[in-house]
Amino acid sequence: MSSANNHPDFLALILENKGIILKICALYCPDKHSREDLTQEIIYHLWRSGRSYDATYRFSTWMYRVALNVAISFYREGKRRRGDHSLSTLHLEIEDRSSDMSQEKERFAWLQACIQGLKEFDRALILLYFEEKSYREIAEILGLTETNVATKISRIKDKLKQCILNNKK
Protein backbone atom coordinates (compact mmCIF):
# COMPACT_ATOMS: atom_id res chain seq x y z
CA MET A 1 0.00 0.00 0.00
CA SER A 2 1.45 3.34 -0.91
CA SER A 3 0.37 6.59 0.61
CA ALA A 4 -0.62 8.87 -2.21
CA ASN A 5 -1.00 12.15 -0.41
CA ASN A 6 2.51 11.94 1.01
CA HIS A 7 3.83 11.35 -2.46
CA PRO A 8 5.45 14.49 -3.89
CA ASP A 9 3.63 13.91 -7.17
CA PHE A 10 0.17 13.48 -5.67
CA LEU A 11 -1.04 16.91 -6.71
CA ALA A 12 0.56 16.40 -10.11
CA LEU A 13 -1.45 13.19 -10.44
CA ILE A 14 -4.65 15.07 -9.63
CA LEU A 15 -3.66 17.72 -12.14
CA GLU A 16 -2.99 15.10 -14.77
CA ASN A 17 -6.43 13.54 -14.20
CA LYS A 18 -8.40 16.71 -13.60
CA GLY A 19 -10.55 15.97 -16.66
CA ILE A 20 -12.23 13.29 -14.49
CA ILE A 21 -13.17 15.91 -11.90
CA LEU A 22 -14.44 18.32 -14.55
CA LYS A 23 -16.66 15.70 -16.17
CA ILE A 24 -18.09 14.45 -12.89
CA CYS A 25 -18.80 17.99 -11.69
CA ALA A 26 -20.51 18.86 -14.97
CA LEU A 27 -22.77 15.81 -14.72
CA TYR A 28 -23.68 16.05 -11.04
CA CYS A 29 -23.87 19.78 -10.60
CA PRO A 30 -25.84 21.82 -13.14
CA ASP A 31 -25.27 25.07 -11.24
CA LYS A 32 -21.94 26.66 -12.21
CA HIS A 33 -21.28 28.24 -8.79
CA SER A 34 -22.07 25.11 -6.78
CA ARG A 35 -19.85 23.26 -9.22
CA GLU A 36 -16.85 25.18 -7.89
CA ASP A 37 -17.79 24.01 -4.38
CA LEU A 38 -18.06 20.45 -5.58
CA THR A 39 -14.69 20.68 -7.34
CA GLN A 40 -13.05 21.87 -4.12
CA GLU A 41 -14.80 19.17 -2.10
CA ILE A 42 -13.63 16.45 -4.49
CA ILE A 43 -10.02 17.70 -4.35
CA TYR A 44 -10.19 17.82 -0.55
CA HIS A 45 -11.49 14.23 -0.34
CA LEU A 46 -8.93 12.98 -2.86
CA TRP A 47 -6.23 14.53 -0.74
CA ARG A 48 -7.75 13.15 2.47
CA SER A 49 -8.34 9.65 1.06
CA GLY A 50 -4.83 9.63 -0.39
CA ARG A 51 -3.59 7.29 2.31
CA SER A 52 -6.04 4.60 1.22
CA TYR A 53 -4.72 4.62 -2.35
CA ASP A 54 -3.54 1.18 -3.32
CA ALA A 55 -0.85 1.50 -5.98
CA THR A 56 -1.78 -1.89 -7.47
CA TYR A 57 -4.88 -0.19 -8.90
CA ARG A 58 -4.79 2.48 -11.56
CA PHE A 59 -4.81 5.97 -10.11
CA SER A 60 -7.73 6.94 -12.32
CA THR A 61 -9.88 4.03 -11.02
CA TRP A 62 -9.25 5.11 -7.43
CA MET A 63 -9.91 8.73 -8.39
CA TYR A 64 -13.23 7.82 -10.05
CA ARG A 65 -14.38 6.07 -6.88
CA VAL A 66 -13.54 8.97 -4.58
CA ALA A 67 -14.78 11.68 -6.93
CA LEU A 68 -18.04 9.91 -7.76
CA ASN A 69 -18.76 9.15 -4.12
CA VAL A 70 -18.22 12.78 -3.15
CA ALA A 71 -20.30 14.01 -6.10
CA ILE A 72 -23.22 11.69 -5.31
CA SER A 73 -23.20 12.69 -1.62
CA PHE A 74 -22.94 16.38 -2.58
CA TYR A 75 -25.81 16.01 -5.02
CA ARG A 76 -27.99 14.13 -2.53
CA GLU A 77 -27.42 16.67 0.20
CA GLY A 78 -28.45 19.39 -2.25
CA LYS A 79 -25.47 21.50 -1.26
CA ARG A 80 -25.35 25.07 -2.50
CA ARG A 81 -22.64 27.66 -2.71
CA ARG A 82 -21.53 28.48 0.81
CA GLY A 83 -19.97 31.83 0.04
CA ASP A 84 -17.15 31.39 2.57
CA HIS A 85 -14.42 30.36 0.20
CA SER A 86 -10.93 30.44 1.50
CA LEU A 87 -9.80 30.08 -2.10
CA SER A 88 -12.06 32.72 -3.58
CA THR A 89 -9.27 34.46 -5.43
CA LEU A 90 -8.55 31.36 -7.47
CA HIS A 91 -11.35 30.53 -9.80
CA LEU A 92 -11.79 27.07 -11.18
CA GLU A 93 -12.92 27.77 -14.70
CA ILE A 94 -14.65 24.71 -15.99
CA GLU A 95 -16.39 26.35 -18.90
CA ASP A 96 -14.89 26.12 -22.33
CA ARG A 97 -14.62 29.58 -23.79
CA SER A 98 -13.15 28.41 -27.04
CA SER A 99 -16.31 26.83 -28.37
CA ASP A 100 -18.90 29.26 -29.63
CA MET A 101 -20.58 27.12 -32.23
CA SER A 102 -24.20 27.30 -31.15
CA GLN A 103 -25.29 24.05 -32.82
CA GLU A 104 -22.48 22.11 -31.19
CA LYS A 105 -23.26 23.74 -27.85
CA GLU A 106 -26.89 22.73 -28.19
CA ARG A 107 -26.03 19.10 -28.85
CA PHE A 108 -23.74 18.97 -25.83
CA ALA A 109 -26.37 20.65 -23.72
CA TRP A 110 -28.87 17.93 -24.71
CA LEU A 111 -26.42 15.18 -23.92
CA GLN A 112 -25.54 16.78 -20.59
CA ALA A 113 -29.19 17.39 -19.72
CA CYS A 114 -30.17 13.83 -20.63
CA ILE A 115 -27.37 12.36 -18.48
CA GLN A 116 -28.28 14.74 -15.64
CA GLY A 117 -31.82 13.39 -15.85
CA LEU A 118 -30.60 9.89 -14.92
CA LYS A 119 -30.43 8.56 -11.36
CA GLU A 120 -27.13 9.08 -9.50
CA PHE A 121 -25.72 5.56 -9.98
CA ASP A 122 -26.86 5.40 -13.61
CA ARG A 123 -25.03 8.66 -14.28
CA ALA A 124 -21.84 7.13 -12.89
CA LEU A 125 -22.36 3.96 -14.95
CA ILE A 126 -22.80 5.77 -18.25
CA LEU A 127 -19.89 8.11 -17.56
CA LEU A 128 -17.58 5.13 -16.97
CA TYR A 129 -18.95 3.38 -20.04
CA PHE A 130 -18.28 6.43 -22.22
CA GLU A 131 -14.81 6.65 -20.72
CA GLU A 132 -14.27 3.16 -22.17
CA LYS A 133 -13.76 1.44 -18.84
CA SER A 134 -14.18 -2.34 -18.95
CA TYR A 135 -17.31 -3.88 -17.40
CA ARG A 136 -15.05 -5.40 -14.78
CA GLU A 137 -13.62 -2.02 -13.82
CA ILE A 138 -17.07 -0.42 -13.79
CA ALA A 139 -18.33 -3.25 -11.59
CA GLU A 140 -15.40 -2.67 -9.20
CA ILE A 141 -16.00 1.07 -9.01
CA LEU A 142 -19.72 0.72 -8.41
CA GLY A 143 -19.74 -2.47 -6.35
CA LEU A 144 -22.06 -4.39 -8.69
CA THR A 145 -21.67 -7.63 -10.63
CA GLU A 146 -20.47 -7.51 -14.25
CA THR A 147 -23.78 -8.96 -15.48
CA ASN A 148 -25.68 -6.30 -13.61
CA VAL A 149 -23.46 -3.61 -15.12
CA ALA A 150 -23.97 -4.92 -18.68
CA THR A 151 -27.76 -5.04 -18.34
CA LYS A 152 -27.98 -1.63 -16.76
CA ILE A 153 -25.73 0.00 -19.38
CA SER A 154 -27.83 -1.31 -22.25
CA ARG A 155 -30.99 0.04 -20.56
CA ILE A 156 -29.41 3.43 -19.85
CA LYS A 157 -28.17 3.78 -23.43
CA ASP A 158 -31.72 3.24 -24.72
CA LYS A 159 -33.00 5.86 -22.30
CA LEU A 160 -30.33 8.35 -23.39
CA LYS A 161 -30.94 7.82 -27.11
CA GLN A 162 -34.66 8.33 -26.59
CA CYS A 163 -34.05 11.46 -24.55
CA ILE A 164 -31.72 12.98 -27.17
CA LEU A 165 -34.16 12.17 -29.98
CA ASN A 166 -37.01 13.76 -28.03
CA ASN A 167 -34.93 16.90 -27.60
CA LYS A 168 -34.15 17.01 -31.33
CA LYS A 169 -37.86 16.99 -32.14
Binding site: L11, I14, L15, K18, G19, L22, K23, A26, Q40, I43, Y44, H45, W47, R48, S49, S52, Y53, W62, R65, V66, L68, N69, V70, I72, S73, R76, E77, S86, L87, L90, H91, L92, E93, I94, E95, D96, R97, S98, S99, E104, R107, F108, L111, K119, F121, A124, F130, E140, I141, L142, G143, L144, T147, N148, T151, K157, L160, K161, I164, L165
Partner: protein, 224 residues
Protein backbone atom coordinates in the same frame (compact mmCIF):
# COMPACT_ATOMS: atom_id res chain seq x y z
CA UNK B 1 -33.34 5.16 -33.52
CA UNK B 2 -29.96 6.60 -32.69
CA UNK B 3 -27.05 4.17 -32.97
CA UNK B 4 -24.62 3.31 -30.14
CA UNK B 5 -21.78 4.66 -32.26
CA UNK B 6 -23.50 8.02 -32.69
CA UNK B 7 -23.98 8.29 -28.95
CA UNK B 8 -20.32 7.48 -28.27
CA UNK B 9 -19.25 9.96 -30.96
CA UNK B 10 -21.30 12.69 -29.30
CA UNK B 11 -19.62 11.88 -25.99
CA UNK B 12 -16.18 12.00 -27.61
CA UNK B 13 -16.89 15.48 -28.93
CA UNK B 14 -18.15 16.53 -25.51
CA UNK B 15 -15.01 15.05 -24.02
CA UNK B 16 -12.81 17.02 -26.42
CA UNK B 17 -14.58 20.19 -25.35
CA UNK B 18 -13.76 19.44 -21.72
CA UNK B 19 -10.15 18.59 -22.62
CA UNK B 20 -9.81 21.96 -24.33
CA UNK B 21 -11.11 23.62 -21.17
CA UNK B 22 -8.54 21.55 -19.31
CA UNK B 23 -5.63 23.09 -21.17
CA UNK B 24 -7.04 26.59 -20.88
CA UNK B 25 -7.34 26.36 -17.09
CA UNK B 26 -4.11 24.57 -16.27
CA UNK B 27 -2.43 27.58 -14.66
CA UNK B 28 -5.48 28.29 -12.49
CA UNK B 29 -5.52 24.66 -11.29
CA UNK B 30 -1.81 24.62 -10.44
CA UNK B 31 -2.21 27.72 -8.29
CA UNK B 32 -5.36 26.36 -6.71
CA UNK B 33 -3.82 23.04 -5.78
CA UNK B 34 -0.72 24.66 -4.29
CA UNK B 35 -2.83 26.95 -2.09
CA UNK B 36 -5.18 24.10 -1.29
CA UNK B 37 -2.38 21.83 -0.05
CA UNK B 38 -1.17 24.49 2.36
CA UNK B 39 -4.65 25.24 3.74
CA UNK B 40 -5.80 21.66 4.05
CA UNK B 41 -2.71 20.47 5.91
CA UNK B 42 -3.67 22.89 8.65
CA UNK B 43 -7.36 22.07 8.45
CA UNK B 44 -6.99 18.29 8.51
CA UNK B 45 -5.14 18.21 11.82
CA UNK B 46 -8.43 17.64 13.63
CA UNK B 47 -10.82 14.97 12.37
CA UNK B 48 -13.62 16.91 14.02
CA UNK B 49 -13.23 19.56 11.32
CA UNK B 50 -15.25 17.44 8.96
CA UNK B 51 -18.21 17.43 11.33
CA UNK B 52 -20.71 20.23 10.77
CA UNK B 53 -21.13 23.02 13.30
CA UNK B 54 -24.79 22.04 13.88
CA UNK B 55 -23.84 18.47 14.82
CA UNK B 56 -21.14 19.70 17.20
CA UNK B 57 -23.69 21.94 18.90
CA UNK B 58 -26.20 19.12 19.30
CA UNK B 59 -23.52 16.84 20.78
CA UNK B 60 -22.30 19.60 23.14
CA UNK B 61 -25.85 20.27 24.28
CA UNK B 62 -26.36 16.55 24.91
CA UNK B 63 -23.21 16.37 27.05
CA UNK B 64 -24.29 19.41 29.10
CA UNK B 65 -27.74 17.85 29.67
CA UNK B 66 -26.15 14.55 30.78
CA UNK B 67 -23.86 16.39 33.21
CA UNK B 68 -26.83 18.29 34.61
CA UNK B 69 -28.71 15.01 35.22
CA UNK B 70 -25.65 13.53 36.97
CA UNK B 71 -25.50 16.65 39.16
CA UNK B 72 -29.20 16.19 40.10
CA UNK B 73 -28.68 12.54 41.04
CA UNK B 74 -25.54 13.16 43.09
CA UNK B 75 -27.34 15.86 45.07
CA UNK B 76 -30.48 13.80 45.72
CA UNK B 77 -29.16 10.54 47.13
CA UNK B 78 -31.58 10.24 50.05
CA UNK B 79 -34.32 7.64 50.71
CA UNK B 80 -37.09 10.30 50.56
CA UNK B 81 -36.15 11.11 46.94
CA UNK B 82 -36.13 7.51 45.74
CA UNK B 83 -38.59 8.06 42.87
CA UNK B 84 -36.76 11.20 41.80
CA UNK B 85 -33.37 9.48 41.73
CA UNK B 86 -34.67 6.38 39.93
CA UNK B 87 -36.53 8.50 37.32
CA UNK B 88 -33.59 10.81 36.66
CA UNK B 89 -31.23 7.80 36.51
CA UNK B 90 -33.46 6.19 33.86
CA UNK B 91 -33.58 9.46 31.87
CA UNK B 92 -29.80 9.73 32.27
CA UNK B 93 -29.31 6.21 30.89
CA UNK B 94 -31.35 6.93 27.76
CA UNK B 95 -29.57 10.24 27.20
CA UNK B 96 -26.08 8.78 27.62
CA UNK B 97 -27.03 6.17 25.03
CA UNK B 98 -28.32 8.85 22.62
CA UNK B 99 -25.28 11.12 23.03
CA UNK B 100 -22.85 8.23 22.48
CA UNK B 101 -24.75 7.00 19.41
CA UNK B 102 -24.94 10.55 18.00
CA UNK B 103 -21.24 11.35 18.47
CA UNK B 104 -20.15 7.91 17.24
CA UNK B 105 -22.26 8.09 14.10
CA UNK B 106 -21.25 11.67 13.34
CA UNK B 107 -17.59 10.69 13.56
CA UNK B 108 -18.13 7.52 11.55
CA UNK B 109 -19.82 9.49 8.77
CA UNK B 110 -16.88 11.88 8.59
CA UNK B 111 -14.47 8.93 8.46
CA UNK B 112 -16.11 6.91 5.71
CA UNK B 113 -13.56 5.83 3.13
CA UNK B 114 -14.67 7.33 -0.16
CA UNK B 115 -12.31 5.09 -2.09
CA UNK B 116 -14.56 2.08 -1.48
CA UNK B 117 -17.18 1.15 -4.09
CA UNK B 118 -20.04 3.60 -4.70
CA UNK B 119 -22.75 1.26 -3.47
CA UNK B 120 -20.78 0.41 -0.32
CA UNK B 121 -20.01 4.04 0.60
CA UNK B 122 -23.48 5.36 -0.17
CA UNK B 123 -25.10 2.51 1.77
CA UNK B 124 -22.87 3.05 4.82
CA UNK B 125 -23.51 6.81 4.82
CA UNK B 126 -27.26 6.37 4.47
CA UNK B 127 -27.32 3.68 7.19
CA UNK B 128 -25.49 5.93 9.64
CA UNK B 129 -27.76 8.88 8.91
CA UNK B 130 -30.88 6.75 9.18
CA UNK B 131 -29.71 5.36 12.51
CA UNK B 132 -30.46 8.77 14.06
CA UNK B 133 -34.08 7.70 13.92
CA UNK B 134 -33.21 4.50 15.79
CA UNK B 135 -31.66 6.52 18.60
CA UNK B 136 -34.72 8.77 18.71
CA UNK B 137 -37.05 5.77 19.01
CA UNK B 138 -35.13 4.70 22.09
CA UNK B 139 -35.23 8.25 23.51
CA UNK B 140 -39.03 8.21 23.44
CA UNK B 141 -38.94 5.41 26.02
CA UNK B 142 -37.79 7.92 28.64
CA UNK B 143 -41.06 9.93 28.55
CA UNK B 144 -42.91 8.01 31.33
CA UNK B 145 -40.06 8.83 33.71
CA UNK B 146 -40.89 12.52 33.36
CA UNK B 147 -44.21 11.62 35.05
CA UNK B 148 -42.66 9.74 37.96
CA UNK B 149 -39.83 11.93 39.25
CA UNK B 150 -42.16 13.86 41.58
CA UNK B 151 -43.72 10.74 43.13
CA UNK B 152 -43.09 10.09 46.81
CA UNK B 153 -44.27 7.70 49.54
CA UNK B 154 -45.86 10.50 51.53
CA UNK B 155 -48.14 11.39 48.60
CA UNK B 156 -49.15 7.73 48.20
CA UNK B 157 -50.02 7.51 51.90
CA UNK B 158 -51.76 10.85 52.37
CA UNK B 159 -53.62 11.31 49.05
CA UNK B 160 -54.01 7.80 47.64
CA UNK B 161 -56.95 8.85 45.45
CA UNK B 162 -55.12 11.61 43.57
CA UNK B 163 -52.07 9.38 43.24
CA UNK B 164 -53.77 6.16 42.04
CA UNK B 165 -56.49 7.86 39.99
CA UNK B 166 -54.44 10.63 38.36
CA UNK B 167 -50.64 10.40 38.66
CA UNK B 168 -50.34 6.64 38.22
CA UNK B 169 -52.69 6.31 35.17
CA UNK B 170 -50.99 9.29 33.48
CA UNK B 171 -47.61 7.55 33.85
CA UNK B 172 -49.08 4.29 32.52
CA UNK B 173 -50.58 6.17 29.57
CA UNK B 174 -47.24 7.75 28.79
CA UNK B 175 -45.57 4.35 29.06
CA UNK B 176 -48.05 2.84 26.59
CA UNK B 177 -47.67 5.83 24.27
CA UNK B 178 -43.86 5.70 24.34
CA UNK B 179 -43.81 1.95 23.66
CA UNK B 180 -46.25 2.49 20.78
CA UNK B 181 -43.97 5.19 19.34
CA UNK B 182 -40.93 2.96 19.81
CA UNK B 183 -42.63 0.22 17.81
CA UNK B 184 -44.11 2.48 15.12
CA UNK B 185 -41.31 4.93 14.35
CA UNK B 186 -40.32 3.18 11.17
CA UNK B 187 -39.91 4.04 7.50
CA UNK B 188 -43.10 2.12 6.68
CA UNK B 189 -45.00 4.87 8.54
CA UNK B 190 -43.05 7.80 7.04
CA UNK B 191 -46.05 8.91 4.98
CA UNK B 192 -48.45 9.04 7.93
CA UNK B 193 -49.54 12.41 9.24
CA UNK B 194 -48.40 11.84 12.85
CA UNK B 195 -44.98 10.79 11.62
CA UNK B 196 -44.56 13.89 9.44
CA UNK B 197 -45.72 16.08 12.31
CA UNK B 198 -43.25 14.47 14.71
CA UNK B 199 -40.30 14.55 12.34
CA UNK B 200 -40.55 17.83 10.51
CA UNK B 201 -37.55 20.11 9.87
CA UNK B 202 -34.41 19.98 7.76
CA UNK B 203 -32.45 17.53 9.92
CA UNK B 204 -35.30 15.03 9.94
CA UNK B 205 -36.02 15.38 6.24
CA UNK B 206 -32.44 14.31 5.54
CA UNK B 207 -32.81 11.32 7.89
CA UNK B 208 -36.03 10.19 6.21
CA UNK B 209 -34.43 10.69 2.78
CA UNK B 210 -31.52 8.51 3.86
CA UNK B 211 -33.93 5.75 4.82
CA UNK B 212 -35.64 5.97 1.43
CA UNK B 213 -32.22 6.05 -0.24
CA UNK B 214 -31.30 2.81 1.54
CA UNK B 215 -34.34 1.14 0.02
CA UNK B 216 -33.42 2.54 -3.41
CA UNK B 217 -29.85 1.17 -3.11
CA UNK B 218 -31.14 -2.27 -2.15
CA UNK B 219 -33.45 -2.29 -5.16
CA UNK B 220 -30.67 -1.02 -7.44
CA UNK B 221 -28.40 -3.87 -6.35
CA UNK B 222 -31.07 -6.46 -7.08
CA UNK B 223 -32.40 -4.93 -10.30
CA UNK B 224 -31.41 -6.71 -13.49
Amino acid sequence: MMEDLELSELWKQYNQKIERANILNLQSWVLHLQTFEYLQTEKAKSRLNAVSRWKKWVAALGVVWVLFLVFLIVNSLVWGKLFFVVSVAAILGFNIYAVIVYIRHTLLISEIDNSESLIEVQQKTAELKASTLQATRVLFLQTPFYCTFFWNFQWMRESPLSFWLIAFPVAVLFAIFSIWLYRNIHLRNANKKWFKLLFSGREWTSVIKSMEYLKEIEEYKKQL
